[in-house]
């Protein structure tokens, strides 16, 4: 029987998914520049912000993975 899933696990999974999506979008924009880029687009925020979210999300997903009771 599994223990109740921790809220931190939900948070980890959500951040991991968001991190991957946003980072991939940032990488896609390198080869397909935006028509109307936001201010400071040259800093490529989606790449590093997405990567940071993904790493934090992965750490929390592993740390709070639901285990058997």
């Amino acid at each position: 029987m599994r223990k109740e899933i921790s809220i931190w696990f939900f948070g980890g999974v959500l951040f991991l998914i968001y991190g991957v999506i946003i980072c991939l979008e940032g990488l896609w924009e390198l080869s397909h520049p935006l028509v109307n880029p936001p201010v400071l687009n040259n800093l490529h925020a989606p790449i590093w912000w997405g990567a940071l979210m993904g790493i934090a999300g992965l750490a929390y997903t592993i740390r709070f993975w639901p285990r058997l009771r």
Binding site: I7, G11, Y18, I21, I22, P37, L40
Partner: protein, 573 residues
């Protein structure tokens, strides 16, 4: 004539120009968020079978979860977008609502008041009033709280939908119905535990979605010192000082005096909200032991102190970097310009491209949902325990009360939706929100604090004090409303502005409550001391907590945060 699918879609369609468009990635980010919050509701449905589980989350929350939920329930859309707009309008003075208007009260709740709430095992703040003062004070407090809760929830809902309409072109009906049905589903299914779990998730999302704006904004502005210089040049130096300009009402953009901030905001409004508003106190009451219950508001205070970074700073940055001026709501409607309340989404659009924009919009939606879930879960608890269970049906089964709580959640959401539509047609209600808030919360704080700290307070004293304080607040409001020159008496200066008036009105109504409570208490017979155990300071010793190390003591962390609070106020003086 029957509705077709096209008719329904047309109802949600919103023609017109918008500031930003969401692409597929943004929509995916938002859709994943909705999927997760609804999944949590279904997942936790099995953990909300008894009233203790449904209304109090089984009292199993850790200090961290209760603490984050405590702050998150307060971070509604008015709190996020409204105060970012206030920062644009009034400058750094708006930070007072996050620091002196929150931190001392949260620490006071954790260190002084929480033991009484927790060891009395009450389910709500009106429940405490019942034990201390009897049914009269409980009924007055429960009815006013229920009214305020659904009103605030509706106003929050409308303000979010309005911003989504202006910035993203979303139809008002779409925003209101989709978000409120989602909240009703996850709170109705999983009760307070589901609300709390989602609030923690929403708190994290708010931070991640909004944090890039101040980071990129500071890079664009050239750092904090350069930002201050730019704001000073464009607006005047009074926009970047928190205390230095408050010696005179007319010396700052808010029309406020430091006495109002210290006595009205910090002593009365803030203590009233953070220590007696059941919306936030309910989160702490769900803690798994007394130590967690004391630590939760202290952890919450630490995070609350950081919130200006994602709310106030974007408003200040907008003063320096936006190439156009924002205006008040009524002028925005008349001229088509952007209003102060739109500053946070405008800054998101400025810095965030596809993906990040979706995350930012999710943060705004999460803020709205956490505020609304807080309101409806508190409403259903107070209705079920303190109105229905206390006066209408005292002998129902536990199962019946849980069913009532679930129905109340849906009914509370429906009333909130109705309020949102009412606000849409009577926008002036928005102007009175702060005022309405102080009608009930300031005198309630007087009643609760006297009940907790003074054995001599009587049942009659509590009831008449609360009633007199509430009537005083309403009377002062009506006096200034019909005779604006009365402002010189109510707010001590004809130069005072709305927020200053609210503070002084709260202070006077609290004073009247305290004076009437004391006078009536001396004229009436007090309860025997044996009936006050666990309710009043000094009657019986409080349970001693055995911490293994000095750094585990709540007082150590409260002291650390208090020192940090003082340092921050000096830095931004």
């Amino acid at each position: 004539m029957p509705f077709s699918a096209l008719d329904v879609l047309a109802y949600f369609d919103s023609p017109g120009k918008t500031l930003a468009h969401l692409n597929t990635v943004d929509i995916a980010v938002i859709a994943i968020y909705f999927g997760v919050v609804i999944f949590i509701g279904f997942y936790l449905k099995g953990s909300a079978n008894t009233s203790e589980e449904f209304f109090m989350a089984g009292r199993e929350m850790t200090a961290w979860i209760a603490g984050l939920s405590f702050v998150s329930a307060n971070l509604g859309s008015l709190e996020l977008m409204g105060w970012a707009g206030s920062a644009y309008q009034y400058g750094i003075l708006a930070t007072h609502w996050y620091w002196i208007g929150a931190i001392p009260a949260m620490l006071f709740l954790g260190i002084i008041m929480m033991p009484f709430y927790y060891i009395s095992k009450v389910n709500s703040v009106p429940g405490y009033l019942h034990l201390r003062y009897g049914d009269g004070a409980r009924a007055l407090s429960a009815v006013s709280f229920a009214f305020m809760t659904v009103l605030m929830s509706g106003i929050n809902m409308y303000s979010m939908a309005l911003v989504m309409k202006v910035v993203l072109g979303w139809n008002l009906n779409f925003s209101i119905w989709v978000s409120s049905i989602t909240v009703a589903l996850y709170v109705g299914l999983g009760g307070l535990r589901s609300a709390i779990y989602n609030e923690v998730l929403q708190f994290l999302l708010i931070w991640l979605g909004a944090l890039l704006v101040p980071i990129l904004g500071l890079i664009e502005a050239g750092g904090w010192t350069s930002l201050k210089q730019q704001i000073g040049a464009r607006m005047g130096s009074e926009y970047v000082h928190m205390w230095g300009t408050t010696a005179h009402f007319n010396g700052n953009p808010m029309g406020i005096h430091w006495t109002g901030l210290v006595f009205g905001l910090a002593l009365v409004i803030s203590c009233g909200y953070w220590t007696t508003d059941f919306l936030v106190v309910q989160r702490v009451l769900s803690a798994n032991n007394l130590r967690s219950a004391r630590m939760a508001p202290i952890i919450g205070a630490a995070f609350k102190m950081a919130v200006p970074f994602i709310v106030i700073l974007p408003g200040l940055l907008a003063l320096a970097v936006l190439p156009y001026h924002l205006v008040g709501e009524s002028q925005a409607v008349a001229t088509g310009q952007h209003s102060y309340n739109e500053v946070l989404p405008l800054m998101l659009v400025r810095y965030c491209g596809p993906g990040l924009l979706g995350l930012g919009v999710t943060a705004l939606i999460a803020g709205f949902m956490s505020g609304m879930a807080g309101n409806v879960s508190a409403f259903s608890t107070v209705w079920t325990y303190d109105i229905y269970g206390a006066f209408l049906n005292k002998k129902a089964t536990d199962k019946h009360y849980v069913a009532m709580g679930r129905w109340c959640t849906f009914i509370g959401v429906l009333i909130s939706v109705g309020t949102a539509y009412l606000v849409q047609h009577a926008a002036s209600i928005m102007d009175y929100v702060q005022g309405l808030f102080s009608f009930f919360i300031a005198p309630l704080f007087g009643t609760v604090i006297l009940g907790m700290l003074w054995k001599r307070t009587t049942k009659a004293g509590g009831f008449w004090g609360l009633l007199a304080g509430t009537c005083t607040a309403i009377g002062l409001f009506l006096w200034v409303h019909f005779d604006p020159s009365a402002l010189r008496y109510v707010a001590l200066s004809p130069d005072a502005k709305t927020l200053a008036e609210d503070m002084y009105r709260a202070l006077w109504s609290w004073l009247v409550c305290v004076i009437v409570t004391v006078v009536v208490s001396y004229m009436t017979k007090p309860k025997p001391v044996s009936e006050l155990e666990g309710l009043v300071y000094g009657v019986v010793p409080l349970p001693v907590e055995h911490d293994d190390h000095w750094y585990q003591k709540p007082i150590v962390w409260a002291g650390t945060i208090a020192v940090l609070f003082v340092i921050l106020n000096i830095i931004f003086w």
